[in-house]
């Protein structure tokens, strides 16, 4: 090889003298000795087809920053996008903590050498427990989609049944995930929502129960923004049929809204991205699953559960995995899923967020979001041709806006809004065609009266063009 030996900053022993010394120490001629077992026909011929490296850190920085400069962010524009990923203020302390190298670069040490991580995650689970009024919360899984899919499988494992009734008011992408994860051995039935109120159609639910119904799944708020107020009725029906009630929530709403366990939910799941985690183009998600502290539920979690336990010193706490055997024989068992790297750092971050927010913060953020969303709905509805919200029941911070009477479609409206540096709501016209030309608008605490007024003004102009 006629390439000048390079020394790499991340590869200390790439210094030629060091390499030589180390080779001598093991009695090897060259590193080729170590690959002696790899047959020739499995060796890559020549070099991998990769671009020239950016060896100087400054060059790397410039390269990536140039790429990123082509992005326009939700901070630079005004974004009314939601639909599962939310723009909230991320407290500086949250970023500070999840940047700490001790947390950022740790992995799977013992409760002794990585005590901090165990305690931080236990505290996260504990604070989520308070938010949800439930005693068992898992170490985070990948995202809310996974949490929902796993919650559904857990229900099926618990009662050994094979059918799941799923509310249609959910993200189609989430349904796709659930189908992929559960569809090969569970039957999934969709239950419609009332076209006027947007709430779950109780009659449809009732008629779809069978002796094989394992679970009923719905979301609160639903994908289209509706607060489901029939929780009691749904869970009662579910329990009457011997099934398990699974509810997905957005945790940011729980300062204001009743946690699902209060209206009969057995397994609660969701995504903690709204709790102090940047949107990161969809890369900031983590899922939670919560249940009561009953053995039959605890035994079905595929994820880790960190428990607290005393040490030999009074007042000192240690942590460890609860019920790690968790592999009891279950009739409907088709594999207890798996445990692996998921989203622990986001769990720690969410814990920091909840600690900063406290009960008052959670109440206030909920109130601010609901108020401003309501304001937006009222103002938008005043625009000729726009109906906001489309549904009559209560909303939290997301709502459907219908543009049918404007004669314009959402695609064009949103394109036009870009000129005003506004991201309009998510286009629902292909996912939910029964809603016509509708979009899902999301308002959070980062939107002010001013920005909402600007949206209203822009839409007025766009529609009349």
């Amino acid at each position: 090889m006629n390439i000048k030996p390079l020394v790499y900053p991340y590869i200390p022993n790439s210094v030629p003298e060091t390499k030589k010394q180390m080779l001598n120490a093991v009695g090897a001629e060259s590193v080729e000795d170590f690959y002696a077992d790899i047959p020739d026909n499995l060796r890559i011929k020549g070099k991998m087809n990769l671009p020239e490296p950016l060896l100087a850190e400054h060059e790397l920085k410039t390269h990536v920053e140039t790429l990123l400069s082509k992005n326009r962010t939700a901070g630079e524009y005004t974004s009314f996008l939601g639909a599962g990923c939310y723009q909230h203020h991320v407290p500086a302390v949250c970023d500070e903590i999840n940047q700490r190298g001790e947390f950022l670069t740790a992995y799977a040490g013992e409760p002794f050498d990585d005590h901090g991580r165990f305690q931080a995650l236990f505290e996260y689970a504990s604070m989520m427990g308070e938010l949800l009024n439930m005693d068992v919360v898992n170490v985070p899984t990948y995202d809310g989609f996974q949490a929902a899919a796993t919650a559904i499988r857990m229900a099926s494992r618990i009662n050994g049944r094979g059918e799941v009734l799923i509310s249609r008011q959910l993200n189609p992408a989430k349904l796709s995930k659930i189908k992929d994860y559960c569809g090969h051995d569970l039957e999934l039935k969709l239950i419609d929502y009332d076209p006027a109120t947007g709430l779950l159609d109780l009659a449809a639910l009732q008629s779809n129960f069978s002796a094989n119904t394992a679970a009923v799944y719905f979301e609160n708020p639903g994908y289209l923004g509706l607060i489901e107020v029939q929780g009691n009725e749904i869970s009662t029906m579910t329990h009457d049929h011997g099934a398990i009630c699974v509810v997905a929530v957005n945790p940011i709403t729980l300062g204001m809204l009743n946690p699902p366990v209060e209206y009969g939910a057995d397994i609660v799941c969701g995504d903690i991205q709204p709790l102090g985690i940047h949107m990161q183009f969809g890369g900031g998600h983590a899922g939670f699953i919560a249940t009561r502290d009953e053995e039959k539920y605890v035994m079905e979690y595929p994820s880790r559960l960190f428990g607290i336990t005393p040490t030999a010193i009074e007042g000192e706490y240690g942590f460890g995995d609860v019920a790690y055997e968790r592999t009891s024989f279950a009739l409907r068992e088709k594999g207890k899923e798996w445990v692996g790297t998921a989203a622990a750092l986001w769990g720690i971050t969410a814990g920091v967020y909840l600690a900063l927010m406290g009960p008052k913060g959670m109440q206030e953020i909920g109130e601010t979001m609901m108020s401003r969303a309501k304001y937006a709905m009222l103002e938008l509805n005043d625009i000729h041709g726009i109906k906001a919200p489309l549904f009559t029941s209560h909303h939290f911070h997301e709502f459907v806006v219908n543009f049918d009477q404007t004669g314009k479609n959402v695609l064009d409206i949103n394109r036009a809004l870009l000129e005003y540096e506004i991201f309009g709501g998510v286009d629902l016209s292909s996912q939910f065609p029964e809603l016509g030309q509708s979009a899902l608008y999301c308002v959070t605490e980062v939107h002010t009266k001013t920005t909402i007024d600007r949206l209203v003004k822009a839409l007025k102009e766009v529609i009349t063009k």
Binding site: Y10, I11, K19, V26, D37, L42, I44, M48, L50, P51, E52, P53, V64, L67, N71, A74, P91, V93, E102, F103, L104, T105, A106, A108, D113, G116, Q119, A120, F122, M128, G129, E130, L131, V136, V137, Q146, S176, K177, D185, M256, D271, H278, M279, Q280, F281, G282, G284, A312, I313, Y317, G335, W338, A342, A344, G351, L356, M357, K360, S371, Y375
Partner: protein, 531 residues
């Protein structure tokens, strides 16, 4: 006499062991820091005009859906929240801090800070995944280009970056296998997947979750999966093979191509778990061995930080024949613009909410770009050199051995066995690990089940200096020596750690286990709300 100050930390060319003590803050549980009334952060308040227009939104909610009692979260001021978590962070041993060769199979290498800082740019963090594609050309280009890098590294034809971690990628690959067999009308018939005991347990677990039956192969005397057993195991029921190479023992299976051929001739697909790619970058890859699918753990080989257990990222790659089954969407380029292609009717659908862990992908992209082909090759070669160098030192220690393929080299990690030491001293591998904590390092035994008795798996990677490897070996030697001369000291370790010995019994007892503070208080007979 003035002592030679350059010899204070070294003796006979070897590092002396540190007089390490882990940070020990004896920190309360966060709820115990609560002071009613304190605020950690204030929220924007609804404007007066807005309030006038909308009224009391809380009161407008139906009673049955309104939260009655505020959540019993702790009430703590901001500096105290920060202090609490800073202290906890000090009680954690990240790779940034320690010679992290002791977490074998995890590839705990340096996560370059430049990549972290780039991923925290608001041009990355403040992007909503559903923004108009014209506003996210930068990140789309990055994802597209990263896919091209992975293609170059693996020889595969198409990648999905959507899986959030290694196991998710394995699951996606299983799903793709199933879709493939379904398209050929053979999904009913092909319900078996073959794997090996030394492959990552997720290969079996993910395939089981997807509804397959698993056949596990055990190693032959040399430590390679038994090829004859594979031949006996394949049939018309075989959907595929899932295998890691080199396996967690660090041994490369030279007959891997034969394995692939056996499975192919039975009509199955072959998926390559490349969790152990760090030692073979630029040397060998999925393509040459004939694999149909593969996956990489970006938080292993590709340097992204482990985050205490995520977020990571798992990239799954396939041959062109299988690309139509990949999760949707994929990133495409039309010559001018990048965009998401959703028009993929044969796709297995979505496996995650959006497109993958973008900021993790950004870090991995930057890492590859900073090294290039030659750099990646250097990564592999030095990782392997470091491993064999460390192995050479380890095998000189009394009581340890490296089972299988004795006398042969290893690739990037080694699974050792302390069986001899355990028999002679009564000290177990786990206890050695706990004593190692007293010197500021991690230590890992093995995945379960422990096929290798009293196992210990070390993986240096390319990030450590020769001195650091010497130090780790010196710690091992020292602790092993203590097992012979002062076993009680080892058995009662750790002594210099954050906490004392944990009582594990409550964790298995439904009456006593507590996953949350509220559960713990309840079971200890404490009042529900703090005073």
């Amino acid at each position: 006499m003035n002592p030679d100050i350059t010899k204070q930390r070294y003796a006979n060319g070897r590092p002396k062991l540190r007089r390490f003590h882990q940070a020990k803050w004896d920190e309360s549980i966060i709820f115990e820091l609560s002071n009613p009334g304190q605020r950690g952060i204030l929220m924007p308040k609804t404007e007066v005009e807005v309030h006038e227009k909308v009224g009391d939104v809380a009161a407008a909610l139906p009673e049955k859906i309104r939260r009655v009692e505020p959540p019993a979260l702790p009430e703590i001021s901001q500096p105290q929240v920060l202090r609490h978590y800073m202290r906890l962070s000090q009680e954690n041993l990240g790779t940034d801090l320690n010679i992290d060769v002791g977490q074998g199979t995890c590839t705990m290498k340096y996560s370059p800070k430049i990549n972290d800082s780039l991923s925290r740019s608001s041009k990355m963090t403040a992007l909503h995944p559903l923004q108009d594609k014209d506003t996210v050309q930068g990140i789309l280009e990055l994802m597209y280009k990263f896919e091209q890098l992975l293609k170059g590294i693996s020889g595969m034809d198409r990648f999905s970056l959507q899986p959030s971690a290694g196991s998710a990628a394995i699951y996606a690959n299983v799903s793709i296998m199933r879709a493939y067999q379904r398209a050929r009308g053979e999904a009913e018939q092909r319900d078996e997947i073959i794997t090996t005991i030394f492959s990552h347990p997720s290969n079996a677990a993910c395939a089981r979750t997807a509804g397959f039956k698993i056949i596990t192969l055990y190693p032959d005397e040399d430590g390679y999966p038994d090829l004859d057993a594979l031949k006996a195991a394949v049939s018309e029921r075989t959907a595929g093979l899932m295998i890691t190479n080199p396996e967690d023992t660090g041994i490369f299976n030279p007959k891997i191509e034969e394995y692939v051929k056996v499975v192919h001739s039975a009509g199955g697909l072959c998926s390559y778990d490349q969790a152990n790619a760090n030692g073979v970058l630029g040397i060998t890859r999925a393509k040459e061995a004939g694999f149909d699918l593969c996956h990489f753990n970006l938080h292993k080989t590709f340097s992204t930080p482990h985050g205490c257990g995520g977020p990571g990222s798992g990239a799954c790659g396939v041959t062109s024949e299988l690309q139509k089954f990949l999760p949707v969407p994929v990133v495409e380029f039309d010559g001018e613009n990048y965009y998401f292609d959703y028009d993929r009717p044969d796709s297995i659908g979505k496996i995650g909410p959006f497109y993958g862990n973008s900021s993790v992908i950004l870090r991995a992209f930057a890492w590859v770009m900073s090294l290039g082909a030659q750099g990646l090759r250097e990564v592999a070669e030095i990782a392997v050199l470091n491993n064999n160098y460390l192995m050479n030192k380890m095998l000189q220690i009394r009581g340890v051995s490296a089972p299988y393929a004795r006398g042969k080299r290893r690739i990037e990690q080694v699974r050792y066995s302390w069986e001899e030491l355990a028999e002679e001293t009564g000290v177990s591998s786990e206890q050695i690990g706990l004593r190692a904590v007293d010197f500021g390092v991690h230590y890992w035994t093995s995945h379960h089940p422990f096929i290798v008795p009293e196992p210990c798996t070390l993986e240096p990677s390319e990030s450590y200096t020769r001195q650091e490897l010497d130090e780790y070996a010196a710690i091992m030697e020292h602790v092993a020596g203590e097992a012979y001369t002062d076993p009680e000291l080892v058995k009662t370790a750790p002594h210099n750690s954050t906490i004392h010995t944990i009582d594990h019994a409550p964790l298995d007892d439904p009456e006593r286990w507590a996953v949350t503070w509220r559960a713990y208080r309840r079971k200890m007979g404490q009042p529900a709300t703090s005073e």
